[in-house]
Amino acid sequence: MTGSLAQLGALLALRWQMARTPGLRLAIVLAALTVLWLLHLVVGSGDLLDAPTLATAIDIAPATFFGFGVLAVIAPLTAGGGNEVVPPDQLAVYPVRPTTQFFGGLLLAPLNLVWVVQLLVLAGLTSYLTLDGSLLRGALTTLTYVLCLTISGQMLAWFVVGLRQTQRGRRTVSAAGIALLLTSIVAVRSGHGNVVLDRSPTRSVTAAVIAGGDGHLARWGTTTVLLLLLAAAATVLGARTCAWALRRPGDLGLNRHTDPVRRRDAKSSALRELVATDRASVWRAPALRRGGLVLAILPGLIAAGAAVPWDSMIVLPGLVAAGAGLLFGVNAFCLDGSGAVWLASLPHDPRLVARAKAIVLAETVLAAVAVAAVAGSLRSPGAPTAAQLTAIAASGITCTALVVAGGLKMSTKRPHRADLRGPRDAVAPPGALAIASARLALPAAFAGLLLGSASQTGAWWWPPLLALPLVLLAVLSVLRSLRRYDDPFVRARIVQTVASG
C-alpha cells in the first residue's frame, strides 16, 4: 500500500511538472478553488429557497442520491476502469503497481464535469436536509456515500475490464448490459420506477443525513459507519480486482491489429480520400468505436424507455453532441498519429486535412445525435407540436455545429499525442478532457435550453430562427480554426505534437 501511494505521488508530481506554463498551473488551481467556492455557495443556498421548492428538493433527495450512484458506476465503465494519471503506454517499462493505477483512477474521478455537478447537487441537498441542525454530521454521511459509490464504481469497472479480456466474458458483459437496460426500461414503463426508488438504499442514506442534522446519533452513526466500512471494503476489493484485470491475458488485442481489412476503392478527390482515411481511423479505434456506439444508442434507449416528454427531447442532442465531441473531436489531428509527419510532406492544400477532420467530426456527432433523437422520441407521449419538432431538429444541428466548432478550436490550439490502440485509450489527458467537456457541454446545454424555451411559444419558426445565429457563429469559428491551421508554424506544432508528443 505504501509503495503504491509513493508511486502515485511520483506520478502526480510528474503530471504537475508536465503542466509547463504558469498559466496552466494557475488555471488548474483556479478550477479547484472554483469548485470549492461553488460548494460553499450551494451549501448556503438553502436559506434562499421558498418552502415549496425546499420541500420538493427534499422529496427528490433519495432519487438524486440514486442518480449519483448510477453516474458513479457508468463513468468509470465508459473510461474502461477510470482515468489514468499517465497514459499506460508511457509507463510500460516501469513497475507501476495495479494498486497505483486503481488509486490514480479514484483520485481523478472528480475530473468529470457531470460528477462535479452531481456532487454540488448532493452538497446542496445535504444542506437542505440539515437546515436547522448539524450540517457537519450530514455532510460526513454524504461524503462517505460519495466515496463508497465512487470506489465501488471503479471496482465494478475494473471487474468488467477483466471480464472483457475473453470472448466469453465480453458476451457475458453484453448480455448483462442488455438485460439491465431492458429491466430498467420495463420497470420505468410499467410504473415500477417509483417502487424501485422507494426501496432504494439511498432512502436510508438521506434518512441518515437528516438524522445527523437532527442529532439522532444512533441512526446517523450506524449508516455512516456502514458506508465507511463498505468504502474500505470496496477499496481493498477494487485494488485486487484491478490487479486481476490487468494480469488477465486477453484474446483480442493482438488479432485486432493483425487481421486484414477489406480493400476499398480509391476515392474521386483528395478530400474524399482524406475523409475515408479519417473515417477508418475512427471506426478502427476500439475506444472510439465503442464510445460512439454507446453514445448513439444508450441515451436514445434510456429516453425511449423512460418515455421522455417531447419538451425534454430538445436538450438530448446537446448532451449527446458534447459526449460525441469528446470521443476524438477535441484532439482531431491525433487520428493521424505519427503519420501526420508523412502526410505533411505530401503535396496538398493543408487545409484539406483540417477540412477532412471537421467533416468526419461533424458526421460522427450528427449521426450520434440523430440516432439518439430518433430512438429517444419513439416512445415520447402524445404527438409533438410543430414547434417541438423544429426545436429538436434545430437543437441537433446547432449542437453539432457548436461541438464541431469547439472541437476544432481545441484541436488546433491544444493538440495532444494519443495512440488510441487499446479500448481504454483516451484522446487527451484526464485534466484536458475535463476542461474540454465543460467547453463543449456548456454551449450545447445553453443552445438546448434556449431552443426549448423557443418551442414554448408554440410558433414553429422561433427555434430555427434562434438557432441560425448560433450556427453562423459556429461556422465562423470553424473558419477561424481552418485559417489557424493554414499557418505553417501552427501546423508544424500540431504535427510534431500528435506525431511524437
Binding site: 491489429h257 481489412v261 476515392k267 505530401l346 503535396p347
Partner: protein
C-alpha cells in the same frame, strides 16, 4: 547546372533552443549524401525542414529550382520523405497509405508500381493490415516504400536502416541506387556509418545543427575513418 537540393543558412529554433544553426548543403542530380552526426545534431530536424514539414526560422531551401518559401506544394511534389520514427497513420493499411499518396500526388497507373515496391520490401502479404500492428522494421520498410513510391527528384531517408533486417536493407540500398540512376538526389540520415558508406558517395557531418565536415563516404570507413568521424563529432 541547378542542384536538385540547395539549402542556405537554414536555422530552426524551438523557443530558446537552436536545433539547426546555419545549415548549408548543395546536392546535385544523381548524387547521394549521408547526413551523419551524434544524437541531437539536428539531422532529423534538418530533414523535416527539407521535406517541407517544418518551416525554417531563417534561411531558404530550393528543390529542383523551386523555392520552398514560395511554392511549398511544388517542393513537396518533388520530394519523397521517410521520417525518422513512425511516419505511418496507425489505423490505415499500407495500401491505403499508397492510395492516399497517389491521390494527393495526382499519380495515375500507380498500382503496378505500388505492388512491385510492396513485393520488393516483403510487405505484399501485409498490404491490407493496419500499420499499428507492424513491427518497427516493417514500419521502416513501408516508410521507405512511401518515400520512393512516386520516384521523387529528391529522396530524403531519415534512419531508413534502423531495425531493418538484411533483406530490407538490401531493398533500401537498391531503391537508393535506382533513384540515383534516374537522376534523383538522395540524402540519407543514419547512425549506421557502414550502411551510410554503402548507400552514399559523400558524407556530411553535422554538429550543433551545422555542417562541421564533409568527405567522400569511403573515407569514413575502417579504423582511420572511424577515428576521423569521432574527431569531427566530439
Amino acid at each position: 547546372m541547378t542542384p536538385v537540393l540547395l539549402a542556405q543558412g537554414l536555422v530552426v529554433d524551438f523557443g530558446a533552443v537552436r536545433a539547426v544553426g546555419g545549415f548549408d548543403l548543395s546536392v546535385g542530380a544523381g548524387a547521394s549524401v549521408a547526413l551523419v552526426g551524434r544524437n541531437g545534431a539536428g539531422k532529423s530536424t534538418t530533414m523535416r525542414v527539407l521535406a517541407g514539414v517544418l518551416p525554417p526560422s531563417a534561411g531558404h531551401v530550393q528543390v529542383v529550382g523551386i523555392d520552398a518559401a514560395h511554392d511549398p506544394a511544388g517542393v513537396r511534389a518533388a520530394v519523397g520523405y521517410c521520417p525518422d520514427v513512425g511516419g505511418l497513420i496507425p489505423r490505415a493499411t499500407p495500401w491505403e497509405h499508397l492510395q492516399l499518396a497517389a491521390r494527393l500526388r495526382g499519380m495515375r497507373d500507380w498500382r503496378h508500381r505500388a505492388e512491385d515496391l510492396l513485393e520488393r520490401f516483403d510487405l505484399h502479404n501485409a498490404a491490407d493490415r493496419v500499420t499499428s500492428g507492424f513491427s518497427h522494421g516493417m514500419s521502416r520498410r513501408l516508410s521507405v516504400v512511401l518515400a520512393a513510391f512516386h520516384q521523387p527528384r529528391l529522396l530524403l531517408l531519415d534512419e531508413p536502416f534502423d531495425g531493418v533486417d538484411p533483406l530490407g536493407v538490401d531493398a533500401t540500398l537498391e531503391v537508393v541506387r535506382q533513384a540515383r540512376e534516374q537522376g534523383a538526389a538522395v540524402l540519407v540520415s543514419t547512425h549506421l556509418l557502414e550502411l551510410a558508406v554503402q548507400a552514399c558517395q559523400e558524407a556530411v557531418v553535422l554538429k550543433g545543427g551545422r555542417v562541421v565536415g564533409a568527405a567522400p563516404a569511403a573515407e569514413l570507413t575502417g579504423r582511420d575513418g572511424d577515428a576521423k568521424y569521432r574527431a569531427l563529432i566530439s
